[in-house]
């Protein structure tokens, strides 16, 4: 058994930010992470991080754009916190070492991003996430925060309604161990692997979200899933929105700049949901290329500028699609990108279970409502990662450790044992592929009642088949087949929440809360918090 005041589950940008602050507050902090922090999916973030830092920009402007982008379903007090703090957070990260791109006079560069009326996305080349993650990790090394790398958490322990610890599985040698703690900050990031087409990493399986859900935390607004319009056709590797920020143009198979039709004002820089639906409409109406993709044209920028401002776009197009973006347009299609919903938290990152906090993509404060604007997720990770870390440390200070994970440990031990030995007929990957197909076909870019009902039935059927899976690998060391089986369970549980039919007109301007009741999922509603911006029609 291991024991620390504050456990941070996940070492991504949110986890690292939470750990840094909790450590500064004097708590004994440990990060438990499935991957080494620098392998977290934050490093894939490309385009930028938003802040009203440029001359003439205001936090109110940033807040309004975020709220409008969210379809007025974000909580406005939370958005205010995010946007007020943003400029200082950029400065802080610069002081800690993030190499933000700047001009010759030394001022930080920024670029326009979809849904923002003003250029306010700051960046480091087009590897902003990598640069921020490096800085966050460097600070962990500097502070000497304890790190358990390649430990996958399998469950959170709640005793008498309060958090007492977690169980984690060590990938290197198959050890299952209890970690006691007074508080945990769940920062396990994205979970888009239930979709056939997704820009998320293979390891993004929503583990922490599912763990918290089963431990009694409410999940908020899980039906809001974002589809990014520009992923590379085929491998679905993300072509950053910055490509359109820098002047990229979308064209259908007929060579038409079709976004003029759907978004006369913002054209190619309209928010992601609108662009994704427009591309899908073009495909449905037969104006896409065979296979359902359209073109992102950067040729007018010239190879030199693309290499300078968008080196990653250049690399991805050439390495993964064999296309030189300076000479030919890039074939792109929409893909699942971000889950706006997640573990319901308040502005301090606290959930409904005392001792469990959450931050980053796995949490839902809510800052993004029905649609997240590019550049706000990295910002959320830092801003609310810090809030959650501080709140968890404060909580740990005034509470005593409670014991009692023994039983859960035994239960988890039996489950792992069963997984290693079970000889069922269902291959884990086959089941996962079926799930991905069902989700993509029925609750992809467009959602409608009929398809959702079909998806719900299909997901429930898949969950019934889970007990007859076969892992097929008995080993203790680096048994990734076992990890994938555990991940599949999490994906299945979350998929069911995503496909639950949950919106009707009287519930407009409400958040959906989903509760795990063992054999079923219950939904409740709570109003969206509105401060100074009244809902209006969302046109671009």
């Amino acid at each position: 058994m291991k024991r620390h005041d504050v456990l941070i589950l996940g070492g991504g940008l949110a986890g690292a930010s939470a750990a840094r602050v909790a450590h500064q507050a004097g708590a004994d902090v440990a990060i438990v992470s499935k991957l080494s922090p620098l392998r977290s999916h934050t490093v894939a973030a490309a385009g930028g991080i938003n802040a009203a830092l440029a001359a003439g920009d205001t936090w109110e402007g940033h807040a309004f754009d975020t709220i409008k982008g969210s379809d007025f379903l974000a909580d406005q007090d939370s958005v205010e916190i995010l946007c007020r703090e943003a400029p200082n957070l950029i400065v802080e990260m610069d002081h800690l070492g993030t190499p933000f791109s700047r001009d010759e006079s030394g001022t930080l560069f920024n670029r326009p991003f979809g849904g923002m009326r003003q250029a306010r996305a700051f960046f480091a080349g087009d590897r902003t996430g990598l640069a921020l993650m490096q800085t966050a990790w460097e600070q962990l090394v500097k502070a000497g925060v304890t790190l358990y790398e390649e430990w996958a958490a399998t469950s959170l322990i709640v005793e008498n309604g309060r958090f007492s610890g977690l169980i984690a599985y060590r990938i290197a040698d198959g050890t299952l161990e209890e970690f006691q703690g007074k508080a945990v900050v769940v920062c396990t990031g994205p979970g888009g692997q239930m979709y056939l087409k997704s820009t998320n990493a293979v390891t993004c399986t929503g583990d922490g979200t599912a763990l918290a859900f089963r431990a009694g935390c409410a999940l908020k607004d899980m039906e809001f899933v974002q589809f990014h319009p520009t992923s590379l056709h085929g491998p679905n590797i993300l072509i950053t929105e910055a490509a359109r920020g820098e002047g990229g143009i979308l064209k259908n198979a007929k060579g038409e700049r079709f976004m003029e039709k759907y978004s006369p004002k913002m054209v190619d820089l309209a928010p992601r949901d609108i662009v994704s639906r427009s591309i899908q409409t073009e495909a449905n109406e037969g104006r896409a290329f065979p296979g359902g993709y359209v073109h992102l044209d950067l040729t007018h920028l010239g190879a030199a500028r693309i290499k300078e401002r968008l080196p990653e776009v250049y690399q991805f197009s050439t390495e993964f699609a064999g296309v030189d973006p300076g000479k030919e347009p890039i074939p792109i299609e929409p893909a699942q990108h971000y889950i706006m919903g997640g573990i319901a938290t308040n502005n301090a990152g606290a959930t409904n279970v005392p001792g469990i906090f959450a931050a980053g993509e796995c949490a839902c404060v809510s800052l993004h409502g029905a649609n997240r604007l590019g550049g706000n997720a990295l910002l959320e990770c830092i801003a609310f990662g810090k809030h959650a870390g501080a709140a968890a440390a404060a909580f740990a200070k005034k509470t005593a450790q409670i014991a009692g994970g023994e039983q859960i440990l035994q239960q988890e031990d039996r489950r792992v044992d069963w997984l290693l030995k079970t000889e069922g007929g269902e291959r884990v990957e086959a089941l996962r592929l079926e799930l991905k197909q069902v989700m993509w076909d029925n609750v992809g870019v467009f959602r409608n009642e009929q398809d959702m009902a079909a998806a719900l039935a299909a997901v429930r059927a898949l969950r019934k088949r889970y007990p007859s899976i076969r892992v097929g690998a008995p080993g203790k060391q680096f048994n990734y087949a076992l990890i994938e089986a555990m991940e599949l369970r999490n994906l299945l549980d979350l998929s069911e929440v995503i496909v639950m039919p949950n919106r009707d007109d009287p519930n407009w301007l409400k958040h959906t809360l989903a509760w795990w009741r063992g054999d079923r999922i219950e939904l409740t509603y709570e109003p969206v918090r509105i401060t100074q911006w009244q809902p209006q029609e969302r046109t671009y």
């Binding site: 392998r39 999916h41 400065v91 002081h95 800690l96 010759e104 030394g106 590897r127 600070q139």
Partner: protein, 323 residues
């Protein structure tokens, strides 16, 4: 990208297997797979793992060459499996052999023990050591100054360079290219206030003077990082620093060598043809076999053109503070 119905190639993939729970010795397994154009080596490994042998272990996450998980030895050269297209490799070599990284112990199958790699990175103090009072706003650093970081800032810690490093092969204590590229990233950062101490530290045994200048790290890096260039830059700066310390003392001594003659600042890419005449790997007129460390003190090169340029006491141009 795979065009529909494009040619499919049935081929063998040969994979290094090692499972300490089962046997002490390693062996190779082979699978027949259909290789479609557009498929990466990682795609093929996934196919084996998912549909043929779930016991095959390898690390991976992002599948887009950014998380650094999936480095391995593919047909004798270390690289990321997720951005290595299988078909061109098969067309070139006629075979496909996948093995774990070198210069690191193997834990299981393609999973290498990166403990030594990380230790070296931890050892160089991998975090900014800024001056006492930061400005109110962001540091004001001009673009060209920030651009110095470009040859190192995109490192994803994949380990490919260390796997190929000849110095590391000979000396397991050598910090290695990735750690030193990370070190450079701070030395070159105008916001870092500790470059002199850093250079002193990195000049210790197993540091910058132990590189064999074999260039392999520059060649294999999937992110365009140039660890060897970074090391050469630090050598030059370390010498300049020594010179300025001496200049401060009463007995003026000549610099022991002058690398400034061949290392411009900002550093010229060493891998550019200018430095390597007709395929022979030579650095600054010195042969590779000589090595830098041993011959440093004895070198009285005629290229002293850079000697007269006295470097500032601060190694790097000062930065303006905003706000």
């Amino acid at each position: 990208m795979a065009a529909a119905g494009a040619d499919v190639l049935v081929t063998k993939i040969k994979v290094y297997r090692f499972d300490p729970e089962v046997a002490k010795a390693a062996h190779y397994d082979e699978w027949d797979l259909d290789v479609k154009p557009g498929q990466t080596v990682l795609d093929l490994l996934h196919e084996v793992h998912y549909f043929h042998d779930p016991t095959l272990s390898f690390r991976r996450s992002c599948r887009s060459a950014i998380c650094g998980s999936c480095a391995m030895n593919i047909n004798g050269r270390t690289g990321l499996s997720c951005n290595t297209q299988a078909k061109p490799l098969l067309d070139r070599d006629g075979y496909l052999i996948v093995e774990p990284m070198k210069n690191m112990p193997v834990l299981k199958d393609l999973v290498a023990d990166m403990g030594g790699f990380w230790k070296a990175v931890y050892d160089i103090d991998p975090y900014l050591r800024p001056g006492a009072d930061p400005p109110k706003g962001p540091y004001v650093v001009p673009k060209h100054r920030m651009d110095l970081l470009k040859i190192a800032q995109d490192c994803i810690m994949c380990g490919s360079c260390l796997s190929e490093c000849t110095s590391r092969e000979a000396n397991p204590e050598y910090l290695g290219p990735a750690a030193l590229a990370k070190a450079y990233r701070f030395v070159a950062d105008a916001r870092d206030d500790a470059s002199v101490e850093r250079l002193k530290e990195y000049s210790q045994p197993n540091g910058i003077w132990d590189c064999d200048t074999c260039l392999y790290c520059n060649e294999v890096c999937p992110m365009g990082v140039k660890p060897m260039d970074a090391i050469m830059y630090m050598r030059e700066k370390a010498i300049e620093a020594t010179r300025s310390w001496r200049a401060g003392s009463s007995t003026r001594q000549r610099p022991r060598t002058s690398l400034s003659a061949c290392l411009a600042w900002p550093p010229r890419p060493l891998s550019s043809p200018k430095f390597f005449s007709a395929g022979r790997r030579r650095t600054c007129g010195k042969s590779r076999s000589g090595g830098w460390r041993t011959s440093r003190s004895s070198q009285r090169s005629s290229r002293r053109s850079g000697r007269g340029r006295r470097s500032e006491v601060r190694l790097l141009p000062g930065l303006r503070r905003a706000g």
